[in-house]
Amino acid sequence: MNKTPSDRIKRELTDLQAVAGNGLLHRRALLRGGAALAGAMTGYTLLPSALGQQLTDDAWSRVPGSTVPDYGSRSRFEKDVVRTLSNPKGEPRTQHARTPHHLINGTFTPNGLHFVISHAGDPDIEPDKHRLVIHGLVKQPLVFTLDTLARYPMVSRMAFVECGGNSAPLFSPQPIQASVQALHGLVSCSEWTGVPLSTLLDEAGIDPKAKWLIAEGGDSPHLSRSVPLSKAMDDAMIALYQNGERIMPGNGYPMRLLLPGWEGNMNTKWVRRIQLTEGPGMTFYESRTYAAILPGGKAYQFYFMQEVKSFITHPSPGLAMKGPGFYEISGIAYSGYGRIAKVMVSADGGKSWAQAALQEPVHSKAFTRFRAPWRWDGGPAVLQSRAWDEAGYAQPTRTQLVAARGETAQVPPVTAFPSQHYNAIVSWSVERGGEVKHVYA
């Protein structure tokens, strides 16, 4: 009997050595198997002549297309790929817009899907009238316009920005059933371009007594945060561009402070003023909102670092599996300490692990996409990812994190922020029918 190409692919797939329990394959299985195998890995192309119909010229291919617009927008078929809004009517309280990580891919967040938290809406800033003042413990207080800043030597870098309260629903004692967007949507990653803050501070002349700065926005709460001067002189930036275009209004138009790897709230949007000081200001957001209460009642102050973290975006709750076969497990990993060194993936709730492939280049303090090929046999599985960064930190287990930081007494609303800086391992359970659920494992 003649062997068809798909028989050959089937055999090759069956022959692939699982490297960890429950069907996890070697991270380079796809590459080794060649193109035919890579096609087969989607899980949907194994049947011979799966199409079952003859191709004809589609309607859109038989007429000229529409006029090219001066500013492009995505296909009308993608209109459901949107952020979720916590306060769509703009009532007098904070607004959150969360990134749909399960509906996008790659390592950058499109500008329109970048997460936003605005404590009193997005200001409508006229760029020509916006000013950035640097004063306090400096030799010469200075004021900059957008035009003058645009003449400075610039740098571009990839950087994630993460709200200190991202993933806070996981402080719940029971796993809350919600999408990766609802659970982890307050982190995004962009290429930011702007002027190193150190250039501007040097120009103003730093008084040796200065150890901190207080950055303030031109929004209506005039949001202010204290930042150690050491960070400002290390890799802080006055960012003017986000993924090549001017920063989005919700992300700080026309300029924001970027502190790569540090708590989102400190990356002052719409920045209009930087005052150098000896000590921190103990502003509202640092002394109250972003101070995390620990078991026993003391609270962390100045928890700046967004520590090593990863979560699986595909599959994830809401993305049901369509039958046994081959899938790519994929997700994002990042650390405020630098580059991601390694991501391990488990399909059996952490009993065994396979190393995931990292998308090159791996940027410091930016999203790193990881991928691992998986042969799902249709039975129950618990998917996890665990990341390590170049500083040597490992993503903690949930048990470790809860032991140090606690959990809530009752299940909180999914939109609540009982505490901050949750970076423990996340577990998705794949049920027999293909439904994906959030579990603690």
Partner: protein, 177 residues
């Protein structure tokens, strides 16, 4: 200055290039600005009281302003409404505890700083410094952190010690490699 000496020319070129690079690193385009020019923006108040403006206000003055400008959101007498309560609350025990001014905030100066920059929510920067002192005095007195007649000003406010002042563990820079 002309030279036919190639080494001299190279040296000159190197000098010109590196001078250009130094210039490129510091275009020096910031405009000097005077304290008077930035006075309206210069609103940071630090825990030691620096940045506090002249002026003074009492709880009684604050009560009147509070009813007119704050109670719609923060409730009558500051006990809470659509927005957070400003009066009352227990010491915090764990992450399920409410972070109230009396139970959590470490510094009294933060209250002045925050009201002045951000409140009332729909019309920030509309209060005079006197009004901000008065509102701060009212909230502190309702929380029994100062007396009913104590005026708040640049001298008295930083001396108000908040109950949870020592309730914090400074995390930075302990884990920075």
């Amino acid at each position: 200055m002309f030279t036919r000496n190639p080494a001299g020319l190279a040296a000159l070129l190197t000098f010109v290039l590196s001078a250009a690079m130094v210039f490129a690193q510091a275009p020096n385009l910031g405009k000097p600005v005077s304290p008077a020019e930035i006075a309206a923006w210069d609103i940071n108040v630090l825990p030691d009281g620096s940045g506090l403006p002249p002026g003074s206000g009492t709880p009684a003055d604050g009560a009147r302003i509070y009813t007119a400008k704050c109670s719609a959101c923060h409730g009558p007498e500051g006990k809470g409404g659509p927005s957070a309560r400003l009066v009352g609350g227990e010491p915090v025990k764990n992450m399920s505890s409410e972070k109230t001014i009396a139970g959590f905030w470490p510094y009294s100066t933060t209250l002045f700083d925050y009201i002045r920059r951000a409140m009332p929510w729909q019309q920030p920067r509309s209060l005079t410094n006197e009004e901000v002192y008065a509102l701060t005095a009212y909230i502190l007195s309702q929380n029994q952190l100062i007396g009913e007649r104590d005026a708040m000003n640049a001298q008295t406010l930083p001396k108000v010690r908040m109950p949870n002042r020592d309730g914090f563990i400074v995390r930075f820079p302990d884990r920075t490699p």
